[in-house]
Amino acid sequence: MQIPDYFKFFNKTRIVSGKKSLENIPYELQSMDAVKPLVITDKRSVDEGLVKILIDAYGDSGLVIGAVFDGVTAYTSAKTVLDAARLFRARGCDSIISIGGESCAFAAKALNLLVSHKTEDLLQFDSLPDNMHLCPFIVIPTSDSSGRETSTRSVIDGRIYESDELMPDIAVIDPRMLKKRGKAETILPALRAMAEAVEACTEDAANPMNDSFAFASIQLICENLAAAVNGGSVKSVLGLANGIAISGIVWSNAPEGIGSALAEELAVRTGNSRELCAAVLLPHTLDYKLKNTKKSVRGELLLPVAGIDRYCAAAETERGLLGVEAVFEIVKGMNKYIPVTLKELNIPRYILESTAEAVEDSFAKQYGKGGALMILESAYNGERVSGGKK
């Protein structure tokens, strides 16, 4: 086990998961001294009946929901947040519940900044102060969730707001809110969440606390992904949603890795989704790390990816490699439903080069010059990374 000479770890979010967990919300809000939440969500969640499920769950609580603001769109803008803030104030709300994916949670976090600081100007927050005393904030993940809901981050109009305190107080993961999705729509967020958890525990700075969370996240995703895609039993869908929610906590506690930086840049340059780019790059980044760094890909990765029996049966020196192989297996196994190479996405070579260039400087020291491009090239062809450091 790796324990660095110094590390910090923090997870503000309490997880409440499973049967009838929504019904706890009124009690939980009251125990944080709040009685009137604003629900912030998007049209899809309303159309799928998710808001109604929450309202029904409020039955017998004797409490009032200040309003359901359903104006969040895929791209969260300051205007939306401001509208929600005005509604929040007009109704005398004291807490926030977001239902939906990251855009809803981003809006909720920014809304919390505005109403807790009694301001209408998001831009005043250059860097967020400590000790903000924000309003109680509950996230209800849905099948649209990416894991960023439970993270320290909010992105509004492309601008990033980041603080430990932006993490929700509670993530309520209720199977009733996890509606069935298309296969690709189920796979991609899960693989991206897994990519981030894998990246976090394959960094030199990994620590045992974040590793524990990462392992739980990875194992939940690996064990439940196939079942959730094929048939979608309640257990597998709930397991997957748990894995994704935990990945946000892991991601918040790890430095940015080369894999997620590449996925981000590639998404911006090609118009493909971040999820897709992250999914395609995941095994190749790992492969590169394995072959070019001494300790970052530890044998322990095999444990959450393949389970305790396969891990223990493997020879110690082989585990790192087997872990990477197992990740390849999982991603390639999804090729029926999603592209797994950059070639399939028709990305021209010059974009690979400019993407590599954009992240190169931040990671050259860690992974060697030319590393970023090697990852992209092997992901392009779907081949293994060849050779070591250039």
């Binding site: 086990m1 590390f7 309490r14 997880i15 998961s17 125990s31 606390m209």
Partner: protein, 425 residues
């Protein structure tokens, strides 16, 4: 990984770990807008010179509003009130608790009074009584075992009314837990051994009791692995700072785990031995751990079997058949206790009759076992144990643990068997 039909998990404590983690104290205080912390500790800790690194870390930048070092071994209402008065008089604005379980319990109690501006702890007993954030609390553990830096409950005795009051609230979770290897460096071998076994018990019970969940599982496995890999080193080479840091991390991880998944019969019986015979908690845990796992085998044998991996490593796990693993896990823990007994020159007990006080007197005479059995049925931890225990069951366990013999598993009255592997009686 088992995903339960329902679970909750919370660990909102900022953990700062490292060989010089305390040096970050000024930053931590600044981040919660505190300029005048009060230090709460006990004589033992202060006498061991452990407040020095705290003072040094605060340096010239922060002036502590006082050091209270008179916390008794069993935190009580009077002390809490006393400290609260001093806190108010010195106009402090945060608390740094340096010590073990009772120091932290006391600090949590003080925090309730000063934050709620009250003089009566009684008003805040039970669930849901606290509704607001309290004053900043920084926990600096000086043993690696209780995990109280990660737990949300405070236990405070009211000697006048002869009751123990329970304060369970998420608001009692400390804001920071500082795991600094220097703070446990001087811990004597025997103390290192049994406090680590307390943490080990937290993790093992968390992994096998009713509220287990994915996060309590992964933190428990990590804790057990760290303890198994470092306990002997910590006991034999007290100055091994890497081992100290590992044990401190393990204890915090185990604390996170059991604070969410709760503990079972081992703690129920152990609390009762502690209450009646005044045996240190970790000592009871060391002895009882194998018995608790043994008693529950027909319910959670497969889970106990999985623990063979963090305890003895992958090879040991792989070379055993699934149905052999549960008993091997229990054997490994018994061996660990024997090894610790050797390494501590006989100070670490492997059975109840071996527990002696400073003068060598037996602390748990056989005659009190029935009282202990009766008391343990009324301990809250029994709720979370996989199998029921009545008086006779508890007494049977205690008698075997007293002698140091394994349980006669044929005599256990078994409910529905839920273990996925068959373990022979």
């Amino acid at each position: 990984m088992q995903i339960p039909g329902y679970y909750e998990f919370c660990n909102k404590v900022k953990t700062v770990s490292g060989h010089n983690a305390l040096d970050k104290l000024p930053e931590m205080l600044a981040s919660v807008n505190s300029v005048k912390p009060m230090i709460i500790t006990d004589r033992g800790v202060n006498g061991a010179g452990l407040i020095e690194p705290v003072k040094k870390a605060l340096g010239a930048k922060v002036k502590a509003g006082g050091i209270y070092d008179d916390v008794p071994a069993d935190s009580d209402v009077k002390t809490v009130k006393d400290i609260a008065a001093k806190y108010r008089a010195a106009k402090c604005d945060s608390i740094i608790a340096v010590g073990g379980g009772s120091v932290l319990d006391t600090a949590k109690g003080v925090n309730i009074l000063v934050s709620e501006n009250s003089d009566n702890l009684m008003n805040f007993v039970g669930f849901g009584a606290l509704k607001r954030r309290l004053k900043p609390l920084i926990a600096v553990p000086t043993t690696s075992g209780t995990g109280s830096e990660m737990t949300l409950v405070a236990v405070i005795a009211d000697h006048e009314r002869d009751v123990k009051m329970l304060f369970p609230s998420l608001f009692l979770l400390p804001d920071f837990a500082v795991l600094d290897s220097r703070m446990t460096k001087t811990l004597p071998a025997a103390l290192t051994a049994f406090t680590a076994m307390d943490a080990m018990t937290h993790a093992c019970e968390a992994y096998t009791c009713l509220s287990k969940n994915p996060l309590s599982d992964s933190t428990a496995v990590m804790a057990i692995k760290l303890i198994s890999e470092n306990i002997m080193q910590g006991v034999k080479k007290p100055g091994d700072m890497q081992a100290r840091l590992a044990l401190a991390n393990a204890s915090a991880l185990a604390g996170m785990s059991f604070s969410n998944s709760m503990v079972g019969m081992i703690h129920a019986i152990g609390h009762s031995i502690g209450a009646i015979c005044h045996v240190p908690h970790g000592v009871c845990m060391s002895v009882l751990l194998p018995y608790g796992l043994e008693y529950n085998l027909h319910k959670t044998g497969h889970l106990t079997g999985e623990l063979l991996f963090p305890l003895k490593g992958a090879e040991a796990y792989n070379s055993a058949k699934a149905e052999e693993r549960p008993l091997l896990t229990i054997k490994a823990i018994r061996e660990m206790n024997s090894d610790l007994r050797k390494a501590t020159g006989g100070k670490h007990p492997t059975c109840l009759k071996e527990i002696v006080d400073r003068d060598g007197n037996m602390m748990v005479p056989r005659e009190v076992l029935s009282d202990i059995a009766l008391l343990s049925l009324n301990d809250g931890a029994m709720v979370y144990n996989p199998e029921d225990l009545d008086y006779k069951d508890a007494l049977m366990v205690l008698e075997k643990a007293w002698e140091g013999e394994p349980l006669d598993r044929k005599k256990i009255k078994k409910g529905k068997k839920t273990s996925l592997v068959k373990v022979k009686d």
